[in-house]
Amino acid sequence: MAISSSSSSSSSLSLSLPFQFRFSLKTQTRRNFPCVTAVAAASGEVPLLQVNDLRAKIVESNLEILKGVNLTVNRGEVHAIMGKNGSGKSTFAKVLVGHPDYEVTGGSVVFKGENLLEMEPEERALEGLFMSFQSPVAIPGVSNDQFLAMAYNARRKKLGLPELGPLECFSYLMEKLQLVNMKVDFLNRNVNEGFSGGERKRNEILQLAVLGADLAILDEIDSGLDVDALRDVASAVNKILTPENSLLMITHYRRILDLLKPSHVHVMDNGKIARTGDLSMVDAIEADGYEPVSALL
């Protein structure tokens, strides 16, 4: 029921009957979910994020990008998704945060026991899902501190805490600013306006530090960073991480993996997770490329 309403936009009317039938089966599965949770709880593991057979297409071109992604992330785990360009890594991240350019056509995503796909992007954020944008947009006329204060107060409101005044907020932001090794004037500048590539990435991590998250998705946080900036970003992320929250990073490079030490490494290929392993799989990828690794399934 819930699933069908979330995807009952006009385009789903054109779906063929078998698909709809399959769809209603999915709904069935989802209804059964509470039982699944109960089982999981019994074994001591409530997954933070449970993605089942997620399918999504680009709204404008109708092109299917995600073709059945399955992924489970438990609390405290660090996951990495690798894969060649165009395999759907970033699309997967964007679908999770509710990017309007994509439409979910099937499957389910359960985050902290709730149907994520039914939520508005801001509800997902307030629920504790954070994604760092690969190329964050500039917002002229809105200063960084104003933006951070708004976002932080929205989060506090959600947590039932009183909103902070400008002064209290400022001292809180200052503390977090040190975490990403940035100067104070960073706060006075307009959001991402005139920022270098490295500054934009640091700013994303600053936002993560300020807002906190149960699951942080870092989409190519390491691309375009020099060695020092990468170390700053990685050490900030390591400080933010606790046994209670989880990390899902998308990357092309080994260096950040060495710094953030993922417990699970996934290789994505053609809209699916083709293979899952640990850090040792990265050696194989570096040596032979993606083709043989994803084919090894």
């Binding site: 509710g98 508005e120 947009v137 809105v142 933006f147 929205a154």
Partner: protein
């Protein structure tokens, strides 16, 4: 779908106007015929005749303004009421003025019952009520010798004859003026003068507060017309800040009136004028404004305008260069939140080398019957080599059927110049909205912040924080009436 009309004429090497409308061509032919038959052309438009007559009877001609009035009445009598077929009014509907019974506003009592300005945070404050300088509501601070702020009639009685002569020599009938310029020249009961002598830099701004005390209720056909007129003269090396504020008396918040104002600015060599202009008149009012600036060599003119009021708001901004190396910066924001039109017709003429100009015009239309009009002309004539002129206009249309008509046009004859222009019309950026949402800020708040930030670029240019704060809170309450 929002209505969009964009007629850019990027690098028009011809002197002729860039319009291609056949209707416009027709108008030209008609005009030519009239001038051929030129039998001391009396307008055949009874509406204009009647208006001219009413103006003539309304106030006795102040002696020093006799010439201005003569010239204006002559040009008025040979003009007809502009229609949509006339290029400068192609997108601006004046029918609401035409269908009203226009009455010249009577002379206000010596101490009008106007709620005094809540904003007289400026030590030098001039009140102009229904076009009349009202000394009981004005405060003229101590100025250095030679500075004059006040009415022309007082200037004469002060026997400050050199300044008076200079002023009279500068009060002119502008050759490019339109019908409304002439109406002002004919109906102006007095002239408010700001005179800054050579080398004098005024530290405090001169605040001009304009009021209309006579208004009619909605539904009435009567429309009171006032014609305030101000002349600012800054001699060689002088500097002054002018703050013009056209606001609404709280007691006649929803009244109908027509303010037809004119401001002339003459800036001497190396002089500088920073001009702030805020228009928040009644949502039922008509506000037609002329700003005519003449810049001598190396002088600077900076304008920051925010216009939100009026059912019809029209600003005619003409800037003429009298010498080389002038600097002109124009930043304007027009906001239409109701059934209203905000119109800026600007014209910047370069006749001398090495002029510099930057123009930024922004419009926000948040109502399905709202409209914004922009015609921005920049003319770089033969001798204006090495001119650096930039123009950018951006419009936000936030409702279906909201309309903007923009016509940026550059006419370049000189061959060694740097000119740029750009026009963008859009709704808010989806990617920006998502960025807010992805950080937990709901889309409605995000929209509000983004719209406000769009206008903020212009508001930030006001040179005084008190004005910036006031305009910000006013824009905020217009964009989000519930926050009041």
């Amino acid at each position: 779908m929002s209505g969009i009309a964009l007629i850019p004429a990027p690098c028009n090497l011809l002197t002729a106007s860039s319009s291609s409308s056949s209707k416009f061509q027709k108008t030209i032919t008609t005009k030519t015929r009239v001038s051929l038959n030129n039998a001391i052309s009396i307008s055949s438009d009874p509406f204009v005749l009647e208006l001219a007559e009413a103006l003539e009877d309304s106030v006795p001609t102040p002696q020093p303004l006799h010439n201005l009035r003569e010239a204006s009445s002559e040009s008025l009598l040979s003009s007809s009421w502009p229609s949509r077929r006339d290029e400068p009014f192609r997108f601006t509907d004046l029918s609401f003025l035409r269908s009203s019974q226009i009455l010249p506003a009577p002379i206000p009592a010596p101490t009008p019952t106007i709620t005094p300005f809540s904003t007289s945070q400026f030590p030098c404050h001039v009140s102009i009520v229904d076009g009349h300088f009202v000394s009981s509501l004005s405060e003229i601070s101590e100025f250095p010798d030679g500075v004059y702020v006040g009415s022309l009639s007082n200037l004469n009685s002060n026997l400050n004859s050199i300044v008076a002569e200079r002023v009279l020599e500068l009060v002119c009938g502008l050759e490019n003026g339109d019908l409304f310029w002439s109406i002002n020249g004919m109906g102006a009961p007095d002239l408010t003068v700001v005179y800054v002598p050579e080398g004098c830099r005024l530290q405090t701004p001169v605040h001009l507060g304009y009021f209309s005390s006579q208004g009619s209720k909605d539904g009435s056909n009567a429309l009171y017309l006032s014609n305030p007129r101000v002349l600012v003269v800054v001699e060689k090396g002088g500097e002054v800040d002018i703050v013009e504020e056209f606001s609404n008396d709280e007691e006649n918040e929803n009244e109908c009136y027509w303010t037809n104002a004119a401001l002339e600015v003459v800036i001497g060599e190396g002089g500088k004028v920073r001009h702030s202009y805020i228009q928040t008149q009644s949502p039922l009012a008509a506000h037609i404004k002329w700003t005519s600036v003449r810049q001598e060599s190396s002088s600077t003119y900076e304008l920051t305008e925010v216009s939100t009021g009026g059912k019809l708001g029209r600003h005619n901004l003409h800037i003429k260069q009298l010498g080389p190396e002038t600097v002109t910066e124009l930043s304007t924001l027009h906001l239409s939140v109701g059934n209203q039109t905000q119109d800026l017709h600007s014209s910047l003429v370069f006749d001398h080398p090495r002029g510099y100009s930057r123009q930024l015009h922004k419009c926000i239309v948040t109502h399905s019957q709202g409209q914004a009009v922009f015609d921005g002309n920049v003319k770089v004539n033969r001798y204006a080599q090495q001119t650096d002129a930039g123009q950018l206009t951006r419009s936000l249309l936030l409702e279906p059927r909201a309309t903007v008509n923009v016509k940026p046009n550059l006419q370049i004859i000189a061959d060694d110049v740097k000119c740029s222009h750009g026009a963008a019309i859009s709704d808010l950026e989806q990617s920006q909205l998502l960025y807010f949402q992805a950080r937990g800020i709901d889309s409605e708040t995000a929209r509000r912040v983004l719209i406000f930030a769009f206008g903020g670029e212009v508001i930030d240019k006001f040179p005084y924080s008190s004005i910036r704060d006031k305009v910000r809170s006013q824009i905020k309450s217009l964009l989000d009436p519930s926050s009041k």
